[in-house]
Protein backbone atom coordinates (compact mmCIF):
# COMPACT_ATOMS: atom_id res chain seq x y z
CA UNK A 1 0.00 0.00 0.00
CA UNK A 2 2.76 2.35 1.09
CA UNK A 3 4.91 1.42 -1.89
CA UNK A 4 1.94 2.03 -4.19
CA UNK A 5 1.56 5.48 -2.67
CA UNK A 6 5.23 6.17 -3.28
CA UNK A 7 4.92 5.02 -6.90
CA UNK A 8 1.90 7.26 -7.48
CA UNK A 9 3.60 10.16 -5.77
CA UNK A 10 6.72 9.51 -7.85
CA UNK A 11 4.70 9.84 -11.02
CA UNK A 12 3.01 13.01 -9.78
CA UNK A 13 6.30 14.50 -8.59
CA UNK A 14 8.05 13.75 -11.89
CA UNK A 15 5.46 15.15 -14.24
CA UNK A 16 4.16 18.09 -12.21
CA UNK A 17 7.75 18.87 -11.24
CA UNK A 18 9.02 18.75 -14.80
CA UNK A 19 6.23 20.64 -16.55
CA UNK A 20 5.93 23.32 -13.88
CA UNK A 21 9.67 23.28 -13.17
CA UNK A 22 10.50 24.55 -16.65
CA UNK A 23 8.91 27.89 -15.76
CA UNK A 24 9.33 27.72 -11.97
CA UNK A 25 13.13 27.63 -12.33
CA UNK A 26 12.98 30.98 -14.15
CA UNK A 27 10.52 32.37 -11.58
CA UNK A 28 12.80 31.31 -8.73
CA UNK A 29 15.91 32.64 -10.48
CA UNK A 30 14.31 36.03 -11.15
CA UNK A 31 12.93 36.14 -7.60
CA UNK A 32 16.42 35.45 -6.27
CA UNK A 33 17.77 38.37 -8.29
CA UNK A 34 14.84 40.52 -7.16
CA UNK A 35 16.06 40.17 -3.56
CA UNK A 36 18.72 42.66 -4.66
CA UNK A 37 16.53 44.64 -7.07
CA UNK A 38 17.60 48.01 -5.64
CA UNK A 39 21.28 47.07 -5.85
CA UNK A 40 20.85 45.82 -9.44
CA UNK A 41 19.22 49.13 -10.35
CA UNK A 42 22.16 50.93 -8.74
CA UNK A 43 24.60 48.80 -10.77
CA UNK A 44 22.62 49.54 -13.91
CA UNK A 45 22.54 53.29 -13.23
CA UNK A 46 26.21 53.83 -12.38
CA UNK A 47 25.95 57.60 -12.95
CA UNK A 48 24.09 58.05 -9.64
CA UNK A 49 26.69 58.25 -6.84
CA UNK A 50 25.77 56.21 -3.77
CA UNK A 51 27.03 58.67 -1.18
CA UNK A 52 25.80 57.70 2.28
CA UNK A 53 24.68 60.20 4.87
CA UNK A 54 23.64 63.03 2.54
CA UNK A 55 20.97 65.11 4.27
CA UNK A 56 17.67 65.56 2.49
CA UNK A 57 17.06 69.28 1.95
CA UNK A 58 13.85 71.28 1.33
CA UNK A 59 15.34 72.44 -2.00
CA UNK A 60 15.71 68.83 -3.16
CA UNK A 61 12.14 68.04 -2.12
CA UNK A 62 10.91 71.12 -3.96
CA UNK A 63 12.72 69.94 -7.11
CA UNK A 64 11.15 66.49 -6.67
CA UNK A 65 7.62 67.90 -6.39
CA UNK A 66 8.21 69.96 -9.53
CA UNK A 67 9.35 66.79 -11.29
CA UNK A 68 6.15 65.07 -10.12
CA UNK A 69 4.10 67.96 -11.45
CA UNK A 70 5.90 67.74 -14.80
CA UNK A 71 5.12 64.02 -15.03
CA UNK A 72 1.47 64.65 -14.18
CA UNK A 73 1.27 67.20 -16.97
CA UNK A 74 2.29 64.34 -19.29
CA UNK A 75 -0.56 62.23 -17.87
CA UNK A 76 1.70 60.03 -15.73
CA UNK A 77 1.04 59.32 -12.07
CA UNK A 78 4.40 59.90 -10.36
CA UNK A 79 5.55 59.45 -6.78
CA UNK A 80 8.68 60.11 -4.74
CA UNK A 81 10.83 57.61 -2.87
CA UNK A 82 12.87 59.30 -0.17
CA UNK A 83 16.54 58.41 0.45
CA UNK A 84 17.28 55.49 2.74
CA UNK A 85 20.35 53.66 3.96
CA UNK A 86 19.89 51.11 1.17
CA UNK A 87 19.21 53.63 -1.59
CA UNK A 88 20.65 57.03 -0.64
CA UNK A 89 19.13 59.01 -3.53
CA UNK A 90 15.82 60.72 -4.20
CA UNK A 91 13.76 59.06 -6.92
CA UNK A 92 10.75 60.35 -8.84
CA UNK A 93 9.15 57.27 -10.35
CA UNK A 94 6.20 56.40 -12.53
CA UNK A 95 4.74 53.12 -13.71
CA UNK A 96 5.46 52.32 -17.36
CA UNK A 97 3.07 49.36 -17.54
CA UNK A 98 5.67 46.93 -16.18
CA UNK A 99 8.22 48.65 -13.96
CA UNK A 100 8.62 51.79 -11.86
CA UNK A 101 11.14 53.98 -13.63
CA UNK A 102 12.08 57.66 -13.52
CA UNK A 103 14.52 60.38 -12.54
CA UNK A 104 17.17 60.13 -9.86
CA UNK A 105 17.81 63.35 -7.92
CA UNK A 106 20.58 64.50 -5.64
CA UNK A 107 19.02 64.56 -2.12
CA UNK A 108 21.07 67.64 -1.23
CA UNK A 109 20.71 69.91 -4.25
CA UNK A 110 17.76 68.40 -6.10
CA UNK A 111 19.72 68.25 -9.35
CA UNK A 112 18.87 65.31 -11.57
CA UNK A 113 21.73 62.87 -12.11
CA UNK A 114 22.23 62.10 -15.81
CA UNK A 115 21.41 58.41 -15.31
CA UNK A 116 20.83 56.00 -18.15
CA UNK A 117 17.27 54.85 -18.74
CA UNK A 118 16.89 51.27 -17.54
CA UNK A 119 14.33 48.96 -15.99
CA UNK A 120 17.05 47.81 -13.58
CA UNK A 121 16.25 45.28 -10.90
CA UNK A 122 12.56 46.07 -11.29
CA UNK A 123 12.57 43.95 -14.43
CA UNK A 124 13.38 40.79 -12.44
CA UNK A 125 10.79 41.72 -9.83
CA UNK A 126 8.10 42.10 -12.49
CA UNK A 127 9.20 38.94 -14.29
CA UNK A 128 9.15 37.00 -11.02
CA UNK A 129 5.49 37.58 -10.20
CA UNK A 130 3.94 38.02 -13.65
CA UNK A 131 6.40 36.73 -16.26
CA UNK A 132 5.85 40.21 -17.74
CA UNK A 133 2.39 39.04 -18.72
CA UNK A 134 0.31 41.43 -16.61
CA UNK A 135 -2.33 40.37 -14.13
CA UNK A 136 -3.99 38.11 -16.68
CA UNK A 137 -2.57 35.67 -17.61
CA UNK A 138 0.86 36.43 -16.07
CA UNK A 139 0.09 36.58 -12.34
CA UNK A 140 -2.57 33.88 -12.73
CA UNK A 141 -0.08 31.51 -14.35
CA UNK A 142 2.61 32.20 -11.74
CA UNK A 143 0.12 31.63 -8.91
CA UNK A 144 -1.05 28.37 -10.49
CA UNK A 145 2.59 27.29 -10.80
CA UNK A 146 3.02 28.12 -7.12
CA UNK A 147 0.24 25.62 -6.39
CA UNK A 148 2.04 23.07 -8.59
CA UNK A 149 5.21 23.70 -6.57
CA UNK A 150 3.33 22.94 -3.36
CA UNK A 151 2.08 19.68 -4.93
CA UNK A 152 5.61 18.81 -6.06
CA UNK A 153 7.01 19.53 -2.58
CA UNK A 154 4.34 17.39 -0.91
CA UNK A 155 4.80 14.45 -3.27
CA UNK A 156 8.58 14.80 -3.06
CA UNK A 157 8.38 14.55 0.73
CA UNK A 158 6.33 11.36 0.51
CA UNK A 159 8.85 9.80 -1.89
CA UNK A 160 11.88 10.75 0.18
CA UNK A 161 10.39 10.40 3.66
CA UNK A 162 12.40 7.23 4.43
CA UNK A 163 15.73 8.82 3.56
CA UNK A 164 14.92 12.26 4.94
CA UNK A 165 16.66 11.82 8.29
CA UNK A 166 19.61 9.50 7.48
CA UNK A 167 20.44 11.25 4.18
CA UNK A 168 20.00 14.76 5.56
CA UNK A 169 23.36 16.02 4.26
CA UNK A 170 24.36 13.15 2.00
CA UNK A 171 26.01 14.50 -1.14
CA UNK A 172 28.12 12.44 -3.56
CA UNK A 173 29.32 14.82 -6.26
CA UNK A 174 32.19 12.48 -7.11
CA UNK A 175 29.94 9.45 -7.53
CA UNK A 176 28.19 8.30 -10.70
CA UNK A 177 26.70 11.27 -12.58
CA UNK A 178 22.99 10.44 -12.13
CA UNK A 179 23.49 9.80 -8.41
CA UNK A 180 25.32 13.13 -8.03
CA UNK A 181 22.41 14.99 -9.67
CA UNK A 182 19.83 13.20 -7.51
CA UNK A 183 21.86 14.08 -4.42
CA UNK A 184 22.10 17.71 -5.51
CA UNK A 185 18.31 17.75 -6.01
CA UNK A 186 17.69 16.18 -2.61
CA UNK A 187 20.16 18.25 -0.64
CA UNK A 188 18.82 21.53 -2.06
CA UNK A 189 15.28 20.37 -1.40
CA UNK A 190 15.77 19.03 2.11
CA UNK A 191 18.17 21.58 3.60
CA UNK A 192 16.29 24.55 2.19
CA UNK A 193 12.83 23.00 2.65
CA UNK A 194 11.62 25.60 5.19
CA UNK A 195 12.54 28.46 2.86
CA UNK A 196 11.17 26.85 -0.31
CA UNK A 197 7.96 25.83 1.45
CA UNK A 198 7.25 29.24 2.94
CA UNK A 199 8.18 31.01 -0.30
CA UNK A 200 5.85 28.74 -2.29
CA UNK A 201 3.08 29.16 0.26
CA UNK A 202 3.38 32.92 0.74
CA UNK A 203 3.86 33.51 -2.99
CA UNK A 204 0.70 31.56 -3.76
CA UNK A 205 -1.26 33.13 -0.91
CA UNK A 206 -0.41 36.71 -1.93
CA UNK A 207 -2.08 36.34 -5.31
CA UNK A 208 -4.55 33.56 -4.42
CA UNK A 209 -7.36 35.92 -5.36
CA UNK A 210 -6.50 35.65 -9.05
CA UNK A 211 -7.16 31.89 -8.86
CA UNK A 212 -10.19 32.13 -6.60
CA UNK A 213 -11.69 35.55 -7.35
CA UNK A 214 -14.49 37.02 -5.28
CA UNK A 215 -16.28 37.75 -8.57
CA UNK A 216 -17.29 34.81 -10.77
CA UNK A 217 -15.04 34.03 -13.74
CA UNK A 218 -18.01 34.50 -16.09
CA UNK A 219 -19.54 37.89 -15.28
CA UNK A 220 -22.34 37.64 -17.87
CA UNK A 221 -25.15 37.43 -15.28
CA UNK A 222 -23.90 40.48 -13.43
CA UNK A 223 -23.27 42.60 -16.49
CA UNK A 224 -26.91 43.70 -16.63
CA UNK A 225 -27.12 44.90 -13.05
CA UNK A 226 -23.73 46.60 -12.63
CA UNK A 227 -22.57 49.06 -15.19
CA UNK A 228 -18.82 49.50 -14.89
CA UNK A 229 -17.59 53.08 -14.74
CA UNK A 230 -14.58 53.95 -16.90
CA UNK A 231 -11.37 53.78 -14.84
CA UNK A 232 -7.99 55.44 -15.29
CA UNK A 233 -5.32 52.98 -16.44
CA UNK A 234 -2.76 52.05 -13.78
CA UNK A 235 0.03 54.60 -13.59
CA UNK A 236 -1.89 57.36 -15.40
CA UNK A 237 -3.76 60.47 -14.20
CA UNK A 238 -6.62 62.29 -15.89
CA UNK A 239 -5.53 65.72 -14.70
CA UNK A 240 -2.57 67.21 -12.84
CA UNK A 241 -3.11 68.44 -9.28
CA UNK A 242 -1.90 71.76 -7.88
CA UNK A 243 1.77 72.18 -6.93
CA UNK A 244 2.26 70.48 -3.59
CA UNK A 245 3.01 72.55 -0.45
CA UNK A 246 6.56 72.27 1.04
CA UNK A 247 7.04 68.60 1.92
CA UNK A 248 9.64 68.89 4.70
CA UNK A 249 7.21 69.58 7.59
CA UNK A 250 4.71 67.04 6.25
CA UNK A 251 7.37 64.32 6.08
CA UNK A 252 8.57 65.13 9.60
CA UNK A 253 5.01 64.88 10.94
CA UNK A 254 4.32 61.65 9.02
CA UNK A 255 7.55 60.03 10.20
CA UNK A 256 6.69 60.90 13.75
CA UNK A 257 3.19 59.43 13.42
CA UNK A 258 4.29 56.29 11.55
CA UNK A 259 7.53 55.68 13.53
CA UNK A 260 9.39 55.37 10.24
CA UNK A 261 12.68 57.30 10.36
CA UNK A 262 13.62 57.12 6.67
CA UNK A 263 12.86 55.82 3.19
CA UNK A 264 9.19 56.75 2.95
CA UNK A 265 7.07 56.85 -0.16
CA UNK A 266 5.21 60.06 -1.11
CA UNK A 267 2.18 59.64 -3.37
CA UNK A 268 0.06 62.37 -4.89
CA UNK A 269 -3.62 62.43 -5.80
CA UNK A 270 -5.35 65.50 -7.22
CA UNK A 271 -6.37 66.60 -3.69
CA UNK A 272 -4.02 64.83 -1.31
CA UNK A 273 -0.39 64.12 -0.48
CA UNK A 274 -0.02 60.64 1.04
CA UNK A 275 3.14 59.73 2.93
CA UNK A 276 3.56 55.98 3.43
CA UNK A 277 5.47 54.06 6.07
CA UNK A 278 8.75 52.57 4.86
CA UNK A 279 8.85 48.81 4.23
CA UNK A 280 12.30 48.58 5.82
CA UNK A 281 11.12 48.50 9.43
CA UNK A 282 9.86 45.08 10.47
CA UNK A 283 8.52 42.06 8.61
CA UNK A 284 4.97 43.48 8.38
CA UNK A 285 4.57 45.07 4.98
CA UNK A 286 2.00 47.67 5.91
CA UNK A 287 0.47 50.34 3.76
CA UNK A 288 -0.04 52.69 6.69
CA UNK A 289 -0.02 56.29 5.58
CA UNK A 290 -0.64 59.87 6.70
CA UNK A 291 -2.62 62.13 4.37
CA UNK A 292 -2.35 65.89 3.92
CA UNK A 293 -4.20 68.36 1.75
CA UNK A 294 -2.42 69.03 -1.50
CA UNK A 295 -3.67 72.63 -1.53
CA UNK A 296 -2.45 73.93 1.83
CA UNK A 297 -0.75 70.95 3.48
CA UNK A 298 -3.10 70.62 6.45
CA UNK A 299 -3.38 67.22 8.12
CA UNK A 300 -6.31 65.14 6.90
CA UNK A 301 -6.02 61.68 8.44
CA UNK A 302 -3.73 58.89 9.54
CA UNK A 303 -4.58 55.44 8.14
CA UNK A 304 -3.30 52.37 9.99
CA UNK A 305 -4.74 48.89 9.65
CA UNK A 306 -4.52 46.50 12.57
CA UNK A 307 -7.21 43.76 12.28
CA UNK A 308 -5.68 40.27 12.70
CA UNK A 309 -6.51 39.20 9.13
CA UNK A 310 -4.85 42.30 7.68
CA UNK A 311 -1.80 41.84 9.93
CA UNK A 312 -1.52 38.22 8.78
CA UNK A 313 -1.54 39.26 5.15
CA UNK A 314 0.99 42.00 5.91
CA UNK A 315 3.28 39.39 7.47
CA UNK A 316 2.84 37.00 4.54
CA UNK A 317 3.74 39.78 2.11
CA UNK A 318 6.55 41.07 4.28
CA UNK A 319 8.21 37.67 4.63
CA UNK A 320 7.96 37.03 0.90
CA UNK A 321 9.15 40.46 -0.29
CA UNK A 322 11.96 40.65 2.30
CA UNK A 323 12.17 44.43 2.08
CA UNK A 324 12.71 44.58 5.84
CA UNK A 325 15.71 42.27 5.72
CA UNK A 326 19.08 43.55 6.92
CA UNK A 327 22.03 42.76 4.60
CA UNK A 328 22.95 39.40 6.16
CA UNK A 329 19.39 38.12 6.08
CA UNK A 330 19.10 39.38 2.50
CA UNK A 331 22.13 37.28 1.57
CA UNK A 332 20.54 34.28 3.28
CA UNK A 333 17.39 34.87 1.21
CA UNK A 334 19.60 35.08 -1.88
CA UNK A 335 21.45 31.86 -1.04
CA UNK A 336 18.17 30.09 -0.34
CA UNK A 337 16.74 31.38 -3.62
CA UNK A 338 19.76 30.02 -5.45
CA UNK A 339 19.22 26.67 -3.73
CA UNK A 340 15.58 26.70 -4.84
CA UNK A 341 16.66 27.41 -8.41
CA UNK A 342 19.24 24.63 -8.20
CA UNK A 343 16.54 22.29 -6.86
CA UNK A 344 14.38 22.90 -9.90
CA UNK A 345 17.22 22.84 -12.43
CA UNK A 346 18.62 19.59 -11.02
CA UNK A 347 15.10 18.12 -10.96
CA UNK A 348 14.71 18.84 -14.68
CA UNK A 349 18.05 17.19 -15.42
CA UNK A 350 17.25 14.13 -13.29
CA UNK A 351 13.93 13.80 -15.15
CA UNK A 352 15.78 13.69 -18.47
CA UNK A 353 18.50 11.33 -17.21
CA UNK A 354 15.94 8.82 -15.98
CA UNK A 355 14.18 8.76 -19.34
CA UNK A 356 17.03 9.13 -21.81
CA UNK A 357 17.51 5.41 -22.36
CA UNK A 358 13.93 4.23 -21.96
CA UNK A 359 12.50 6.90 -24.27
CA UNK A 360 14.79 5.96 -27.15
CA UNK A 361 15.40 9.70 -27.50
CA UNK A 362 12.19 10.17 -29.47
CA UNK A 363 10.88 13.55 -30.61
CA UNK A 364 9.12 14.39 -27.33
CA UNK A 365 12.20 13.60 -25.30
CA UNK A 366 14.35 15.78 -27.55
CA UNK A 367 11.82 18.59 -27.22
CA UNK A 368 11.92 18.20 -23.42
CA UNK A 369 15.71 18.39 -23.49
CA UNK A 370 15.63 21.55 -25.62
CA UNK A 371 13.20 23.19 -23.19
CA UNK A 372 15.38 22.18 -20.26
CA UNK A 373 18.43 23.66 -21.96
CA UNK A 374 16.50 26.87 -22.61
CA UNK A 375 15.57 27.11 -18.94
CA UNK A 376 18.77 25.95 -17.27
CA UNK A 377 21.31 27.74 -19.49
CA UNK A 378 19.24 30.06 -21.69
CA UNK A 379 17.77 32.09 -18.84
CA UNK A 380 21.16 32.88 -17.20
CA UNK A 381 22.58 33.70 -20.64
CA UNK A 382 19.74 36.16 -21.27
CA UNK A 383 20.18 37.64 -17.78
CA UNK A 384 23.88 38.26 -18.36
CA UNK A 385 22.95 39.60 -21.81
CA UNK A 386 20.76 42.21 -20.08
CA UNK A 387 23.73 43.34 -17.98
CA UNK A 388 25.95 43.44 -21.06
CA UNK A 389 23.35 45.48 -22.93
CA UNK A 390 23.21 47.91 -20.02
CA UNK A 391 26.91 48.64 -20.35
CA UNK A 392 27.20 48.41 -24.16
CA UNK A 393 24.20 50.46 -25.35
CA UNK A 394 24.79 54.23 -25.54
CA UNK A 395 23.82 55.83 -22.21
CA UNK A 396 21.72 58.54 -23.83
CA UNK A 397 19.82 56.21 -26.19
CA UNK A 398 16.11 56.99 -26.21
CA UNK A 399 13.85 54.13 -25.04
CA UNK A 400 16.88 52.10 -23.95
CA UNK A 401 14.97 50.44 -21.07
CA UNK A 402 12.73 48.68 -23.58
CA UNK A 403 15.67 47.94 -25.89
CA UNK A 404 17.52 46.24 -23.00
CA UNK A 405 14.50 44.10 -22.27
CA UNK A 406 13.94 43.32 -25.95
CA UNK A 407 17.55 42.17 -26.11
CA UNK A 408 16.98 39.96 -23.07
CA UNK A 409 14.07 38.19 -24.76
CA UNK A 410 15.84 38.08 -28.13
CA UNK A 411 18.84 36.39 -26.55
CA UNK A 412 16.63 33.94 -24.68
CA UNK A 413 14.77 33.23 -27.93
CA UNK A 414 18.06 32.61 -29.70
CA UNK A 415 19.09 30.18 -26.95
CA UNK A 416 15.75 28.39 -27.34
CA UNK A 417 16.16 28.16 -31.13
CA UNK A 418 19.71 26.89 -30.76
CA UNK A 419 18.61 24.33 -28.15
CA UNK A 420 15.77 23.14 -30.39
CA UNK A 421 18.01 22.83 -33.45
CA UNK A 422 20.71 20.96 -31.57
CA UNK A 423 18.32 18.64 -29.73
CA UNK A 424 16.13 17.82 -32.71
CA UNK A 425 19.21 16.98 -34.81
CA UNK A 426 20.44 14.70 -31.99
CA UNK A 427 23.32 17.00 -31.08
CA UNK A 428 22.12 17.90 -27.61
CA UNK A 429 25.48 17.30 -25.91
CA UNK A 430 27.38 19.80 -28.09
CA UNK A 431 24.40 22.15 -27.66
CA UNK A 432 24.79 22.06 -23.87
CA UNK A 433 28.53 22.64 -24.17
CA UNK A 434 28.15 25.56 -26.59
CA UNK A 435 25.57 27.35 -24.48
CA UNK A 436 27.50 26.72 -21.27
CA UNK A 437 30.67 27.99 -22.96
CA UNK A 438 28.83 31.14 -24.01
CA UNK A 439 27.52 31.58 -20.46
CA UNK A 440 31.04 31.11 -19.07
CA UNK A 441 32.42 33.77 -21.42
CA UNK A 442 29.63 36.25 -20.71
CA UNK A 443 29.90 35.77 -16.92
CA UNK A 444 33.68 35.85 -16.64
CA UNK A 445 34.04 38.88 -18.92
CA UNK A 446 31.33 41.03 -17.32
CA UNK A 447 33.60 42.44 -14.56
CA UNK A 448 36.12 43.33 -17.26
CA UNK A 449 33.41 45.11 -19.25
CA UNK A 450 32.32 46.98 -16.13
CA UNK A 451 35.93 48.01 -15.56
CA UNK A 452 36.67 49.20 -19.09
CA UNK A 453 33.33 50.99 -19.51
CA UNK A 454 34.50 53.61 -16.93
CA UNK A 455 30.85 54.21 -16.17
CA UNK A 456 31.35 54.84 -12.46
CA UNK A 457 33.91 55.59 -9.80
CA UNK A 458 34.86 52.97 -7.24
CA UNK A 459 34.74 55.46 -4.36
CA UNK A 460 31.06 55.31 -3.42
CA UNK A 461 28.98 52.15 -3.50
CA UNK A 462 31.97 49.98 -4.41
CA UNK A 463 30.37 47.06 -2.54
CA UNK A 464 27.43 47.04 -4.95
CA UNK A 465 29.63 47.01 -8.06
CA UNK A 466 32.12 44.50 -6.68
CA UNK A 467 29.44 42.11 -5.43
CA UNK A 468 27.59 42.18 -8.76
CA UNK A 469 30.77 41.68 -10.75
CA UNK A 470 31.94 38.90 -8.43
CA UNK A 471 28.61 37.07 -8.72
CA UNK A 472 28.70 37.32 -12.52
CA UNK A 473 32.27 36.03 -12.52
CA UNK A 474 31.31 33.18 -10.21
CA UNK A 475 28.41 32.16 -12.43
CA UNK A 476 30.84 32.20 -15.37
CA UNK A 477 33.26 29.97 -13.49
CA UNK A 478 30.50 27.49 -12.60
CA UNK A 479 29.45 27.38 -16.26
CA UNK A 480 33.08 26.85 -17.28
CA UNK A 481 33.42 23.97 -14.79
CA UNK A 482 30.22 22.39 -16.16
CA UNK A 483 31.49 22.78 -19.73
CA UNK A 484 34.75 21.07 -18.86
CA UNK A 485 32.92 18.28 -17.01
CA UNK A 486 30.70 17.70 -20.05
CA UNK A 487 33.76 17.28 -22.25
CA UNK A 488 34.89 14.30 -20.15
CA UNK A 489 33.27 10.85 -20.29
CA UNK A 490 30.18 10.33 -18.11
CA UNK A 491 31.20 8.87 -14.76
Amino acid sequence: MRETLRVHMGWLHSWVGFLAGLVLACIFASGTLAVFDTEITQWMQPEAPLTQGTALTPAALQAATQAVQAEENKGLSAFITLPSQRDPVLRVLHYDGYEFIGDVLNPETGDAFPVRETAGGQFFYNFHFSLRGGSLPGVQLVTFLGLCLLVAIGSGLVIHIKGLWPDLILFRPFGARPRAWVDAHLIAGVLFLPFILFMAYTGTAIHARVLLPAQPFFPAHHAKTHKKEPTVPKGRVLQAGPLSPPLTPLIAQARDTLHSPDGNLVLFTTDEVRIFKSDAFGPFLTRDHVDFSRKDGHFLRSVTQNPPAVKTLQLVRGLHYARYAPPLLRWLYFLSGLAGTALMASGLIVFLMKRRRSSGEKLLFRLAEALTMTTVVGFPVATLGLFWANRCLPAALSGRAFIEIDLFFALWGLCATHALLMSLTRHAAPGWRQQLGFLAGAGCALPLLDLVSHSHTWVHGATVFMSMDALAFLSGLIALYATLKLRGPAA
Binding site: L168, F171, F174
Partner: protein
Protein backbone atom coordinates in the same frame (compact mmCIF):
# COMPACT_ATOMS: atom_id res chain seq x y z
CA UNK B 1 30.32 37.04 15.90
CA UNK B 2 27.05 35.55 17.12
CA UNK B 3 26.19 34.67 13.55
CA UNK B 4 29.49 32.81 13.12
CA UNK B 5 28.91 31.00 16.37
CA UNK B 6 25.43 29.93 15.29
CA UNK B 7 26.84 28.77 11.97
CA UNK B 8 29.55 26.76 13.73
CA UNK B 9 26.99 25.16 16.05
CA UNK B 10 24.78 24.15 13.15
CA UNK B 11 27.80 22.78 11.28
CA UNK B 12 28.85 20.76 14.33
CA UNK B 13 25.33 19.33 14.60
CA UNK B 14 25.28 18.31 10.93
CA UNK B 15 28.80 16.90 11.16
CA UNK B 16 27.85 14.75 14.15
CA UNK B 17 24.66 13.68 12.42
CA UNK B 18 26.55 12.45 9.38
CA UNK B 19 29.20 10.74 11.53
CA UNK B 20 26.45 8.83 13.33
CA UNK B 21 25.10 7.33 10.10
CA UNK B 22 26.15 3.68 9.56
CA UNK B 23 27.63 4.39 6.12
CA UNK B 24 29.96 7.06 7.53
CA UNK B 25 30.64 5.17 10.74
CA UNK B 26 32.25 2.44 8.66
CA UNK B 27 34.44 4.97 6.93
CA UNK B 28 35.38 6.96 10.05
CA UNK B 29 35.39 4.44 12.94
CA UNK B 30 35.15 5.88 16.46
CA UNK B 31 34.63 4.81 20.07
CA UNK B 32 31.29 4.24 21.80
CA UNK B 33 31.90 7.20 24.11
CA UNK B 34 32.30 9.52 21.18
CA UNK B 35 28.99 8.27 19.78
CA UNK B 36 27.22 9.58 22.89
CA UNK B 37 29.02 12.91 22.64
CA UNK B 38 27.99 13.23 18.99
CA UNK B 39 24.39 12.40 19.84
CA UNK B 40 24.37 15.11 22.50
CA UNK B 41 25.98 17.67 20.19
CA UNK B 42 23.50 16.80 17.44
CA UNK B 43 20.60 17.41 19.80
CA UNK B 44 21.85 20.45 21.67
CA UNK B 45 23.84 22.50 19.14
CA UNK B 46 20.82 23.64 17.09
CA UNK B 47 18.98 24.61 20.29
CA UNK B 48 21.92 26.72 21.47
CA UNK B 49 22.17 28.26 18.00
CA UNK B 50 18.47 29.18 18.23
CA UNK B 51 19.03 30.90 21.57
CA UNK B 52 21.91 32.90 20.08
CA UNK B 53 19.86 33.91 17.04
CA UNK B 54 16.93 35.01 19.20
CA UNK B 55 19.28 37.04 21.36
CA UNK B 56 20.61 38.70 18.22
CA UNK B 57 17.15 39.67 16.98
CA UNK B 58 13.98 38.56 18.70
CA UNK B 59 11.73 39.22 15.71
CA UNK B 60 13.96 37.84 12.95
CA UNK B 61 15.96 35.32 15.00
CA UNK B 62 14.04 32.33 13.71
CA UNK B 63 14.73 33.37 10.11
CA UNK B 64 18.45 33.74 10.82
CA UNK B 65 18.39 30.33 12.53
CA UNK B 66 16.73 28.60 9.58
CA UNK B 67 18.89 30.33 6.98
CA UNK B 68 22.12 29.66 8.81
CA UNK B 69 21.08 26.03 9.34
CA UNK B 70 20.56 25.54 5.62
CA UNK B 71 23.85 27.23 4.77
CA UNK B 72 25.73 25.20 7.41
CA UNK B 73 24.16 21.95 6.14
CA UNK B 74 25.25 22.75 2.60
CA UNK B 75 28.78 23.59 3.68
CA UNK B 76 29.12 20.49 5.87
CA UNK B 77 27.80 18.18 3.18
CA UNK B 78 30.34 19.51 0.68
CA UNK B 79 33.18 19.24 3.18
CA UNK B 80 32.14 15.67 4.02
CA UNK B 81 31.94 14.79 0.31
CA UNK B 82 35.46 16.12 -0.26
CA UNK B 83 36.86 14.27 2.75
CA UNK B 84 35.27 11.04 1.59
CA UNK B 85 36.64 11.64 -1.90
CA UNK B 86 40.14 12.13 -0.46
CA UNK B 87 39.86 8.82 1.35
CA UNK B 88 38.67 7.14 -1.82
CA UNK B 89 35.17 6.50 -0.48
CA UNK B 90 33.25 8.73 -2.86
CA UNK B 91 31.93 5.90 -4.97
CA UNK B 92 30.63 3.90 -2.00
CA UNK B 93 26.99 4.48 -2.70
CA UNK B 94 23.71 2.94 -3.71
CA UNK B 95 23.49 2.01 -7.40
CA UNK B 96 22.52 5.08 -9.44
CA UNK B 97 18.82 5.30 -10.25
Amino acid sequence: MIILLALALWSAAFWCHECLQPRTRAAFPHQTQSVHVKQIVRALAPCVALIFCLRLDTALGILYWLGLGSAAGLGTSMLMAMLKHKRGLARMSKPPL
